[in-house]
């Protein structure tokens, strides 16, 4: 197995684990937030977990789009530069 295949395998696993973690964090966050524990800090932790899960899901969803956008902008910039001006003596 060459190194690129290894990295691609890692990427696939990272994507799958991220989706599962998003679901898990989302559920745990709501469970903590909705639990009948009258401690404000615990509720804030639940809220934070939900927010993080949503951000994670957002980044998984738009990640490939942003990479494509970077590719598009960079390919526009990769055109060859014009020749520099040569100073002419009078």
């Amino acid at each position: 197995m060459d190194i690129l295949t290894l990295i691609k395998n890692f990427i696939d696993r990272a994507v799958i684990i991220s989706w599962f973690l998003f679901l898990l964090t989302w559920v745990i966050g709501w469970a903590i937030k909705g639990s009948p524990i009258p401690i404000g800090k615990a509720r804030r932790v639940g809220q934070g977990l939900i927010e993080d899960a949503v951000w994670g899901a957002f980044w998984i969803a738009v990640g490939s789009t942003i990479f494509w956008l970077i590719y598009y902008i960079a390919s526009m910039l990769s055109t060859k530069f014009p020749n520099p001006p040569m100073p002419q003596l009078p």
Binding site: I7, L21, F22, T25, G48, G63, Y71
Partner: protein
């Protein structure tokens, strides 16, 4: 591995970094130090992806700057070749001198000449080093730059400093190393706008004179001569001392110029590497 392989590796590593960042973002562990790695890894991945896709734009920009500055690799290698030829011919000439010395003085003279040749060898080493580093950069600067980006793309900023330095090093040296002949001539022959060397008034004494246009116009010649500041410089007493001073000048000029120039370029490379986000420490928690 070739240039394309390194760029492909950097691209896939940046995607892996991105998804690792997302994974850390989505972890149900509310530890701030760990969670901070999420956005950090995501932004690193975008940065490295921009560098990877903009690789040819960066190379074109470097090439453009090099053209504007007037760097010329042919001139650079020609200059170093001429220097090497001069140094080696001096060494051969000095070595050949021992054959013409009477056998009575041969041990002393050969000792002296071997010491001079040893000094000259330092200049040869410095010139050879400049030649080799120039050759390596000229041949493979794109490979070094792509390897630098691939190193920067390793997740968790493990080799980010090394990668940023390699990228900055290859770009800076590609642009600025061919300007070495100009730097050398600037160091060895400094410009002297207001100082002129006049013919000696007396035998064996040379005067440096500071002349100013106002002084030259306003005051008649004999008085002007008296007013000029005179710095007597003793002339070399004989040819042998002249030879020694020439060799010393050759050795120290080459060593000083090469060390100064390489230090200057390395400092610029370190600065550029810092600007590219290098030398970040690995902080897990």
């Amino acid at each position: 591995m070739s240039l394309g392989d390194f760029l492909e590796l950097a691209y896939y590593l940046s995607i892996l970094t991105f998804y690792l960042g997302v994974l850390i973002y989505a972890l149900p562990i509310p530890i701030t130090g760990l969670k901070r790695w999420g956005p950090r890894l995501i932004s690193d991945a975008f940065f490295v992806a921009s560098l990877t896709f903009g690789f040819y734009a960066i190379l074109n920009a470097a090439n453009y700057i090099a053209q504007v500055l007037g760097s010329d690799w042919v001139r650079y290698f020609g200059f170093l070749n001429a220097q090497l030829t001069a140094q080696l011919s001096m060494i051969f000439g000095l070595s050949a001198l021992t054959k013409f010395v009477p056998p009575k003085f041969a041990p002393i003279i050969s000792k002296l000449i071997s010491s001079l040749v040893g000094k000259l060898m330092w200049a040869v080493y410095a010139t050879m080093f400049m030649y080799i580093i120039g050759f390596v950069i000229y041949k493979d600067y794109t490979l070094f730059a792509s390897l630098g980006i691939a190193l920067m793309a390793i997740p968790f900023r493990i080799a980010r400093g090394a990668g940023a330095f390699l990228l900055a090093f290859s770009l800076v040296f590609f642009v600025a190393l061919p300007l070495y002949p100009a730097f050398f001539s600037m160091i060895v022959v400094p410009p002297k706008p207001n100082v002129e060397i006049y013919e000696p008034y007396q035998q064996g004494v040379r005067h440096y004179e500071h002349s100013s246009p106002i002084l030259d116009l306003a005051i008649p010649h004999p008085l002007r001569t008296m007013l000029r500041m005179q710095i007597p410089v003793s002339q070399p007493p004989n040819g042998f001392t002249k030879l020694l001073s020439t060799i010393a000048r050759v050795v120290y000029a080459v060593l000083l110029a090469s060390v100064l120039y390489l230090t200057l370029l390395l400092s610029i490379s370190v600065g550029l590497a810092r600007a590219l986000g290098g030398f970040g420490r690995l902080r897990v928690l």
